[in-house]
């Protein structure tokens, strides 16, 4: 486990942001931290970054109690992010890299590599003011990863990215994962969860309401429903229940009477209609999100 969050409580004057949150984040994964606005994600992220301290509970980083030296092994891209507008891109990145504990020489050589890699060599002496939004996002991303952190925390990383930059970011995230970096990834955008995450945790009302590996969570929310395409007249059967019908494309969603008794359902179906397709309905994370958040209101 790169991060072990144990029963963390954080209270503010007028509300409790985290009410006993426990989470295990395994090494080398892309871990999705989901939850509606105001659920407590940012509070948790700030505690991991040691920007604030928990009122109760503790956080272990790589088996050790979280302490100031660990900031150099964490990279953080906040949701609301900015740069010094008047500073030159190169100076700015040198500053941020050195704040993360890199020596001057090391920072310079790594930044040069990044500038070549992202093909932005001629930006070094440009003031940030002259950069487009997309260019600033690339700069911020470099600042987040230049010190090669063990844990990368990305808060809504795709917000405001155009599709080209979003793709670049996605490729870079996957490349970092290949190299063993753990990525904690907070988002509302469920399609990026489906695409990138290995595990997820859902936080709602200051508590973890759902956690697990992506496929395992999906299985948990399977409703034993199947999508069928056919021709003919589909009627009632003991083996299944028709949830919805779409006669215009000859398809329907059915739910099995007995879980996992797919053969019986198929046998019942082919007696009634010509069956073309019989497909497991996998719940989307969007559906899971809405369902769980709705249930825990």
């Amino acid at each position: 486990m790169i991060l072990s969050i144990q029963n963390v409580v954080k209270r503010y004057a007028d509300h409790t942001a985290l009410a006993g949150v426990s989470l295990e984040i395994p090494k080398g994964q892309i871990f999705g931290l989901l939850g509606p606005n105001g659920a407590g994600k940012t509070s948790l992220i700030r505690i991991i970054n040691q920007i604030t301290a928990p009122d109760e509970g503790q956080v272990l980083f790589d088996g050790e109690l979280l302490q100031p030296k660990h900031v150099e092994q964490i990279g953080y891209l906040p949701e609301e992010r900015g740069l010094y507008k008047k500073m030159k891109v190169g100076d700015q990145l040198m500053y941020l890299a050195q704040l993360k504990g890199l020596s001057k020489a090391e920072a310079l050589s790594r930044l040069k590599d990044w500038f070549i890699r992202l093909d932005i060599k001629d930006w070094w002496n440009k003031p940030v003011d002259d950069l487009s939004k997309g260019m600033q996002q690339k700069t911020q991303f470099i600042a987040t990863v230049v010190h090669e952190p063990k844990l990368l925390i990305l808060d809504e990383p795709f917000s405001g990215f155009d599709p080209i930059n979003a793709n670049m970011l996605k490729d870079e995230i996957l490349a970092l994962k290949e190299r063993g970096t753990t990525i904690l990834f907070s988002t509302h955008r469920m399609e990026s969860v489906e695409e990138l995450c290995d595990s997820i945790a859902l936080i709602n009302h200051s508590q973890v309401v759902l956690t697990g590996e992506k496929d395992e969570v999906r299985n948990r929310f399977k409703k034993h429903a199947y999508e069928v395409r056919y021709s003919g007249d589909l009627g009632e059967s003991k083996a299944f229940e028709i949830i919805s019908k779409a006669p215009e494309n000859n398809s329907a969603i059915i739910k099995l009477a007995q879980p996992d008794q797919t053969n019986q359902a198929i046998a019942a179906l082919i007696k009634q209609v010509d069956l073309f397709e019989f497909k497991d309905v996998i719940p989307s994370f969007n559906d899971i999100f809405i369902q769980v958040v709705g249930e825990t209101k």
Binding site: Y12, A13, R46, N49, Q50, I51, T52, A53, D55, P68, V71, E72, I74, Y76, L77, P78, E80, R81, G82, L83, Y84, K85, K86, M87, Y95, L96, Q98, L99, K100, Q140, A143, T144
Partner: protein, 436 residues
């Protein structure tokens, strides 16, 4: 510690690299030099001689009575109504009507002029008339004119301070006052200037949203400290540049004066009239400055200035930083900056009184209370301050700084992460007691 150095370095370099820093560094000494040089230059310029007509109905005046350096008088004998129409056409600034019974009704003198008469010109005219009238009255009273001449003396004094050890130093009250005023003013300006620079720096980090990235690498109080120290070093650099450039410029200026017609003119005046020359030497600004330098404990004053600048700046800039952290824009900051500026302005106003009476009860307390002591103690210092008072004031200032920076750091760490909320002073007070 390394990280604080990084912050100091960034704050320092980004400011030093700005054009405005160099403009201020260059303009400062030019202004200071100009403040000294322009009056000297003006004083040595030939003044335009004003011409005045005098209608003397009393018949007491002769042309030889009417002599003045800056005014040329001419006795005329025309009716008042004619003079009214003609004086300005003939190039006279004014004409004076002296009544028949001048000796008994000296208040009936009338001066006619086209524009309002300047005060110095009016008093030149009155002086000349007064001198003659007084001489006549003296003579009538039986006092010989030689006796009268002898009584025309001018008193000037030398002030000497006697220390407890019995050492005597020729001091300069006027000089001490100038020095006190200059230093009080300099502290006032720099406290406001660099304090608000710190505040704007904090607002910039917050409003550009880089703050969260920075404080994920460094503790908020370290960032605040680094910023304050970095800007403070910019202030010291500026002082240093001002001093070096002022000395350089005044060297250049004095060599220029050395060969200039102005200097020659001054020499001529001195040769012509030894008494005038002596007065000029005594009254010249350079003589005054030299006297101040001789009579002041320079290491104490310079050391005191650096100390009070540094700790006064640290105290106020930490408060400015706290305000910057609580707001999202410079416009929003205005209502709070007034709270911090108020004691600085108050200290400056008090300093005006301290300068008049540096040993008053008010001056004493103003130089003890940490918020007002930097400016007020600096104003008192050139006059001489007992050691124990200086030490107490310094200790209190350091304690005041520690207290303010504690309060500020606690407001700062909460404030920098607070967005979209209208902050009140009450709200800030609550932040003091938030946990980590």
């Amino acid at each position: 510690m390394n990280k604080i150095l990084l912050v100091i370095q960034r704050e320092y370099l980004t400011r030093i690299q700005k054009k405005s820093f160099w403009i201020a560094s260059l303009l400062g000494p030019i202004l200071i030099t100009a403040i000294y040089a322009v009056p000297i230059w003006l004083a040595t310029q030939d003044k335009e001689v004003k011409r005045i007509e005098i209608l003397d109905e009393s018949g007491l005046f002769q042309t030889t009575d009417l002599v003045d350096k800056e005014v040329e008088f001419k006795l005329v004998n025309k009716p008042v109504s004619d003079l009214k129409g003609s004086f300005s056409k003939e190039g006279y600034t004014a004409f004076v009507h002296l009544p028949k019974d001048l000796l008994t009704h000296s208040e009936d003198i009338k001066i006619y002029s086209e524009k309002n008469l300047s005060l110095p010109l009016k008093s030149s005219i009155e002086r000349v008339i007064e001198k003659k009238v007084r001489a006549i009255l003296m003579k009538d009273a039986g006092i010989a004119s030689e006796v009268y001449e002898k009584t025309q003396i001018e008193v000037s004094s030398e002030t000497i301070t006697v220390s407890e050890m019995g050492d005597e130093t020729s001091s300069s009250s006027g000089g001490a006052m100038i020095l006190a005023g200059v230093m009080g003013m300099l502290l006032y300006i720099t406290l406001l200037l660099y304090g608000s620079q710190v505040m704007n720096g904090v607002i910039e980090e917050k409003s550009s949203r880089i703050i969260e990235v920075i404080i994920s690498s460094i503790k908020p109080h370290q960032l605040m400290l680094g910023k304050i120290l970095g800007v403070g070093m910019v202030g010291l650099t500026q002082f240093l540049l001002w001093i070096v450039l002022t000395i350089g410029l005044s060297q250049v200026a004095s060599t220029f004066y050395g060969t200039s017609p102005v200097k020659q003119k001054m020499e001529q005046i001195k040769k012509g009239d030894p008494e005038v020359a002596k007065k000029m030497d005594d009254a010249s600004p350079m003589a005054e400055v030299t006297k101040v330098i001789e009579s002041t404990n320079i290491p104490l004053v310079v050391g005191g200035f650096l100390f009070y600048f540094l700790f006064g700046y640290l105290l106020y800039s930490s408060l400015f930083a706290a305000i910057g952290s609580a707001v999202e824009s410079a416009a929003e900051a205005q209502q709070f900056t007034f709270i911090v500026m108020l004691p600085i302005i108050l200290a400056f106003i008090m300093a005006q009184f301290t300068m008049q009476d540096p040993d008053s009860t008010m001056a004493f307390w103003a130089s003890m209370i940490p918020f007002t002591s930097p400016i007020n103690m600096m104003v008192r210092l050139p006059y001489g301050v007992p050691m124990w008072e200086l030490a107490t004031s310094m200790i209190l200032l350091v304690l005041g700084f520690l207290g303010c920076s504690w309060v500020s750091a606690r407001i700062y760490r909460v404030g920098i992460l607070m967005y979209g909320k209208k902050i009140t002073v009450k709200e800030m007070a609550k932040w003091l007691f938030y946990k980590g």
